[in-house]
């Protein structure tokens, strides 16, 4: 009687374990052998000893499929980083809408698993891989730009068009980083994708890296480019979240106290007609100059037209709330999950992080110094507060907010937010144009 019970329990255990083995039987020959042998045990379950062995092997097999057996130190480090991201987002409110999805994605992407089960983000056919498709093919960034366009008010830029140049000046960060990456030994397309981190624009960075450094393109000398989408996106988004930390010291360093107190005259009121004309004209002008940036700029100005036309409020509302939320969720999680340790923790990623920090510094300095330069040519009332140059890096609207608080620190009655929004939004346009140029050169 005891024997029968024992056999029954072993059999039931085997039945429980078999699905785990059966599904994965084609993963490797090793698995195949063991599962076959277990089936043989199953058939020839006459003797207890063999059943014991079979059950034990099954449990071992099952253990081999768990995360505990497959965890590497890289996975654990990345999971820790994911938790830190989530912590930063919740505790310090650093761009929680980005950091929490990305942090969760980092954890999801670094759960150890056995390859071949269509689990991981880089395995074709897995669910995550399908969602990641929108990143790899650059689908999500233009949709984000649509929402940004539907959110952005360009009126301060229309009122004071000369501030557009500040947005262009900050793009020096893009090209300087590009050069730096070349000197560090990255090849041209990779360097181009890394450089765009200096544009301080997450969607643009993902768009460009998905086109240039996607691990698919083949270079002239026969080598494939590295897949740098993950590191670049993470670097861009984390430095965007760190704008309030990076920019203020540079502002204090480069701008004298008197300059920081300059009060700008309030921007003139902009008519609705001008606001409606702006997206159409800007779309045509900028995309004629840099057609490769069409997906980004086209969607940006289309979104803005939806907002300003006054007739499509429903569409604008969806674009700036539901649509951008959905895309942000998908983008954040998949970009986070793309940081799978064996692909992410490399020397290149560390270099990219270093270059990213430098690019933000250069971009901020470029904007600040160009604002000072502009002040040499402007007189009296028209002088601009050089602090707003720092808002030329596009990180909307964080850098404008940083400029505003920094201005308040030196003069509590100096409100720079509206003025800073102008270089801020032109920085978005500028970095998209820069991305288009790099793409047309290297794509």
């Amino acid at each position: 009687m005891k024997k029968i019970l024992l056999i029954f329990s072993v059999l039931s255990l085997l039945i429980f374990i078999r699905p785990a083995l059966g599904i994965n039987s084609n993963a490797s020959t090793n698995n195949l052998n063991s599962s076959v042998s277990i089936e043989q045990h199953d058939e020839a379950n006459a003797e207890d000893d063999e059943s014991y062995v079979g059950a034990f092997e099954g449990i071992k097999q099952f253990y081999n499929y768990t995360g505990f057996a497959n965890a590497s130190s890289g996975n654990l480090i990345m999971i820790l980083i994911g938790i830190i991201f989530i912590y930063l987002g919740i505790k310090f409110d650093y761009e929680p809408l980005l950091l929490i999805p990305i942090g969760a994605g980092v954890i999801i992407g670094n759960i150890p698993f056995v390859a071949g089960n269509q689990t991981g983000i880089y395995e074709t056919g897995s669910v995550l891989n399908y969602l990641y498709f929108g990143v790899v093919k650059g689908i999500y960034p233009p949709l984000i730009f649509l929402g940004i366009g539907a959110m952005t008010d360009f009126s301060s830029l229309i009122a004071n068009p000369k501030l557009m140049l500040l947005g262009a000046a900050a793009q020096i960060g893009v090209f300087a980083t590009f050069l730096g990456a070349l000197y560090l030994g990255f090849n041209l397309p990779e360097a181009g994708a890394i450089g765009i981190i200096g544009g301080a624009d997450g969607p643009t960075a993902i768009f460009l890296s998905s086109k240039l450094a996607n691990g698919v393109n083949i270079l002239a000398d026969g080598t494939t480019v590295k897949n740098l989408i993950g590191p670049i996106a993470i670097a861009a988004y984390s430095y965007m979240a760190l704008v309030p930390v990076i920019q203020p010291p540079l502002m204090r360093l480069l701008i004298s106290k008197e300059d920081r107190k300059i009060k700008m005259k309030p921007p003139r009121a902009v008519t609705q007609k001008e606001k409606m004309i702006f997206p159409i004209v800007a779309l045509i002008l900028t995309t004629f100059i840099s057609p490769s940036a069409l997906p980004l700029l086209g969607m940006l100005f289309f979104g803005n037209l939806l907002k300003e036309s006054g007739r499509t409020e429903r569409l604008a509302d969806t674009a700036r709330t539901k649509l951008i939320d959905i895309v942000t969720i998908l983008l954040g999680v998949t970009v986070g999950a793309s940081t799978q340790a064996d692909i992410f923790i490399t020397k290149d990623s560390m270099l990219i992080f270093g270059l990213g920090a430098i690019s933000f510094v250069i971009a901020t300095c470029g904007g600040l110094l160009f604002a000072k330069l502009m002040n040499l040519f402007l007189k009296g009332d028209n002088k601009i507060n050089p602090l707003i140059g720092a808002a030329g890096v596009s990180a909307v609207p964080d850098s404008a907010r940083v400029v505003h608080t920094e201005g308040l620190k030196s003069d509590p009655s100096n409100y720079l937010l509206m003025h800073a929004m102008a270089p801020n939004v032109s920085g978005v346009i500028g970095s998209a144009i820069a991305a288009g140029i790099i793409l047309s050169f290297l794509g």
Binding site: A168, V281, I429
Partner: protein, 119 residues
């Protein structure tokens, strides 16, 4: 030996991209800003001239067509629309309840008016 010129070539191309890229970005935003500084006011001015003539015609037409449309008609339409919208019962509560009505005393249930009782 093949590798070194390749790297040099890359860097020189990098400088080309650096310079042309910056020039293009600047020129793009400069044209945009110049347009909004000078082009847009001109466009709006032209638009004003064009529309001013049209405006007069429009106003004349409007007065003609407005004669039959009195405030009473507007009020009637408004009332009709209001009544129509009020009659919509699209979102009725699906919960049906029978309310229990408690009436402690009613002459209909009074025992003293019963047939058996004689006052």
């Amino acid at each position: 030996m093949i590798h070194i010129p390749l790297v040099v070539d890359q860097i020189s191309e990098g400088y080309v991209i650096l310079i042309t890229g910056l020039i293009i970005v600047f020129s793009a935003l400069l044209t945009l800003s110049l347009f909004f500084k000078y082009g847009l006011p001109l466009m709006l001015y032209v638009y004003k001239i064009i529309t001013k003539r049209k405006d007069k015609k429009m106003s004349e037409i409007k007065v003609e067509s407005d004669k039959n449309f009195t405030g009473e008609i507007a009020a009637a339409i408004g009332a009709a629309v209001h009544m129509y919208l009020d009659q919509q019962h699209d979102h009725e509560s699906a919960i049906l309840t029978i309310k229990q009505v408690k009436k402690p005393y009613s002459p209909w249930s009074s025992k003293i008016y019963g047939t058996q009782n004689r006052l």
